[in-house]
């Protein structure tokens, strides 16, 4: 049942420090922003992983409602939790970068606003999960909320155009505006973040599975 070491966790143990080393020792120093710019590599990786989480949560929600298998609820729960964690980190790393570069912790920019609204929606999912006791009801409600939250994304994105943008666009349709060495660093850190995501996701799922198994045992004992 239980493996001692999750392969992704072991991989993440090397990938994340490896990415940090690449960021600090390999990537060149940006001319105007200096060392502050290095947070960008983590920021973008975290943002990609956060959006992946919300997508996975939505798919897991749909599959739970169709199949009614506990495993999909476990995956949905794990995805929402990690998504909220990663979005929090995206907002924090962005703020840390924005303070010296934009001279403000926060600005109502489309991307910042979109991330913040998504953070609120999926944090609400976590609150909903803690508010329901019965297992099946909780699973259905959280599945519905995850789907409802994800279908909001296009409208959030459209409405975000209302706010003026000062956010740098590194990845455009014409290509990526980065130095080759920076591009390599970005790829390394993006991969590391996705590995970390997979490791956390698998660990969280297995924890959820064990919690459920424990509840089952308790119920059997009470009978």
């Amino acid at each position: 049942m239980l493996k001692r070491y999750d392969p992704f966790a072991v991989l993440a143990l090397f990938a994340v420090p490896g990415a940090a080393a690449t960021v600090f020792f390999y990537a060149p120093l940006e001319r105007t922003m200096g060392v502050v710019q290095k947070i960008f590599y983590f920021h973008l990786g975290l943002a990609a992983a956060a959006f992946l989480s919300f997508f996975v949560a939505c798919v897991a929600g749909i599959l739970y409602l169709v199949k009614r298998q506990r495993a999909w609820d476990e995956r949905g729960a794990a995805a929402v939790e990690i998504g909220v964690l990663f979005t929090t980190l995206v907002l924090l790393t962005g703020s840390i970068w924005g303070r010296p570069i934009w001279n403000t912790w926060w600005t109502w920019d489309p991307r910042l606003t979109t991330s913040l609204i998504l953070w609120f929606i999926f944090a609400a999912c976590l609150i909903l999960r803690s508010a329901v006791e019965q297992e099946e009801k909780r699973a259905v409600f959280c599945a519905v909320m995850a789907i409802v939250g994800f279908v909001d994304v296009p409208v959030v994105f459209l409405s975000a155009r209302l706010w003026r943008s000062i956010h740098p666009t590194v990845i455009r349709s014409e290509g990526i505006a980065l130095e080759p060495a920076m591009l390599v660093t970005l790829a390394v850190s993006l991969t590391a973040m996705l590995i970390l995501w997979a490791a956390l996701f698998r660990l969280r799922c297995s924890l959820q599975r064990q919690e459920n198994a424990l509840l089952d045992l308790q119920q059997q004992l009470q009978r």
Binding site: L128, I147, V148, G149
Partner: protein, 226 residues
């Protein structure tokens, strides 16, 4: 019975309850008017308010008061185990969703009949909206808010913290809708033509359509667990 007949039957039942007790509408109109007075403090006492902040005040008052009505629609059904009765009746869950959404839409529209005149009495100096544009904006927000709100109030009613949970779940989802509405209403208050706010009207209509469809599809799952 066809879906439309089922929906109308339930809709009439809910409206009859509301007309006899009047618990939601009075509370909504009263609370909305109260919020406008409170927001007058936030906007600076006695000063004249610009078009866009004024639009913000109108929408905050409408949305905060509407959540009172939304919460009651399902709480009332739960009180005497009426949800179970609705589910064993030969009505389809889609009809229940449509009827409840229509009830919420009607409640919002009627409370706005009070709130919008109160708003113009308090803040209306210097605002020149075309009534038609304002009506379209009100209808679009009512559709979107009642579609999303009906689905989520079913979720909230299934938990033990109904009143607390509903706004927590609903407001983040409706943030983009409200932002679009404030922008468009601000432009309308400043006297700009429809072509200037078309960019905001389209996503607002999309919001209503998305949540009407999603609500119709997911409501059956949610209501069985209430």
């Amino acid at each position: 019975m066809s879906l439309v007949q089922q929906t109308l039957l339930l809709y009439r039942k809910d409206l009859r309850v509301e007309v006899r007790k009047k618990e939601s509408l009075i509370a909504m109109a009263f609370f909305g008017a109260l919020i406008m007075v409170i927001l007058n403090l936030a906007a600076g006492l006695g000063g004249r308010i610009e078009a866009e902040p004024a639009a913000g005040i109108l929408w905050v008052a409408i949305l905060f008061s509407s959540v009172l009505g939304l919460g009651r629609v399902f709480a009332r059904e739960k009180e005497n185990g009426c949800v179970a009765a609705l589910l064993v009746s030969p009505l389809s869950p889609g009809a229940i969703f449509a009827a409840k959404a229509l009830v919420n839409f009607t409640l919002m529209s009627f409370s706005e009949l009070v709130l919008v005149p109160v708003f113009f009495a308090l803040f209306g100096t210097g605002l020149q909206p075309s009534p038609l544009i304002l009506l379209v904006l009100l209808m679009l927000v009512n559709i979107g808010f009642s579609a999303a709100g009906t689905l989520l109030s079913a979720l909230a009613a299934g938990t033990r913290r109904n009143e607390v949970l509903l706004p927590i779940l609903l407001y983040p989802l409706c943030l983009p809708l409200v932002a679009l509405a404030v922008k468009a209403t601000g432009a309308a208050f400043a006297g700009r033509p429809v072509s200037a706010i078309l960019d905001q009207l389209e996503p607002m209509a999309a919001f209503g359509l998305i949540y009407a469809a999603v609500g119709y599809l997911l409501f059956a799952h949610a209501v069985r667990e209430v």
